[in-house]
Amino acid sequence: MYLNTMLLLAAVLFCIGVYGVLARRNGVLVLMSIELILNAVNINLVAFGAFHATVVGQIFALFVITVAAAEVGIGLAIVLLLYRNRRSINLDQVDLMRG
């Protein structure tokens, strides 16, 4: 199997995630798109780990998974707070800090 098949699949997933972050305005959906991006990164890390026959790729992927879990926890707490204050999680309406 070519290394590139994995890397190209990860690139496609990454770009789908980027599209989701840019195009959608539901706060929860943006967080889901970020998960897509982080998973694409994990695929790359594990693929390179297999390519070089080392477990370091796996360990990096594990760290990314941990940080992603923390990010989702905080992100959803923020979205929840947003909803409680504004009755909406439409990110277009969150423009308090717009210059």
Binding site: M1, Y2, N4, M6, L8, L9, A11, V12, L13, F14, C15, I16, V18, Y19, G20, L22, A23, R25, N26, G27, V28, L29, L31, M32, S33, E35, L36, N39, N42, I43, V46, A47, A50, F51, A53, V55, V56, G57, Q58, I59, A61, L62, I65, T66, A69, A70, E71, V72, G73, I74, L76, A77, L80, Y83, R87, S88, I89, N90, D92, Q93
Partner: protein, 167 residues
């Protein structure tokens, strides 16, 4: 060898289809369920290249915990999505353009650099014992740092989401 290719092809096709549904579907509950398919596909890929511990962790953490968090988030914030065909179109085109350009750049770079590199023929599993040996010797400091980060995130999430008592 051929079975590996077929398995990869099926997983990849399902993942890309599900991922595009995640970012395009109107119903956010469906998006969460499509996300499960993508995450399961990633876990299957990990197992395919012999990363057993990461594959299992992916299932436990993502499908077990993160998706449940998302479902809670969706149920607690059910509201209008603000979806509207006219204004949506204005942002969808630039987003699509950005993603397509990014993809083009990445594909060119990857094909140029890794066009003929092959994964080793025998993808023998990297065992959990190997992962733990490496994690608890060379990577012990980052490991501890990440546990502190998780604790901080836990406390932070509680503080942020907690209802203020009496204003």
């Amino acid at each position: 060898m051929i079975a590996e290719h077929v398995a990869f092809g099926i997983i990849a096709a399902v993942m890309v289809a599900a991922a595009s549904r995640v970012v395009t579907t109107r119903d956010i509950m469906h998006a969460a369920l499509y996300l499960v398919i993508v995450l399961a596909g990633v876990a299957a890929l990990f197992l395919l290249v012999g990363a057993e511990f990461t594959g299992i962790t992916q299932v436990l953490i993502y499908i077990g915990a993160v998706i449940v968090l998302f479902l809670f988030g969706i149920m607690l914030t059910r509201s209008d999505f603000g979806d509207n065909e006219d204004t949506d179109y204005k942002r969808k085109f630039p987003a699509l353009l950005t993603a397509a350009l990014l993809l083009a750049v990445m594909v060119v770079a990857l094909v140029d650099r890794f066009g003929t590199e092959k994964l080793p023929d025998d993808l023998s599993p990297q065992t959990t014992a190997q992962v733990s040996d490496e994690l608890f010797s060379q990577f012990i400091v980052p490991f501890e740092a990440v546990s502190v980060l998780l604790l901080a995130a836990l406390i932070g999430a509680i503080v942020v989401a907690r209802r203020e008592e009496g204003g």
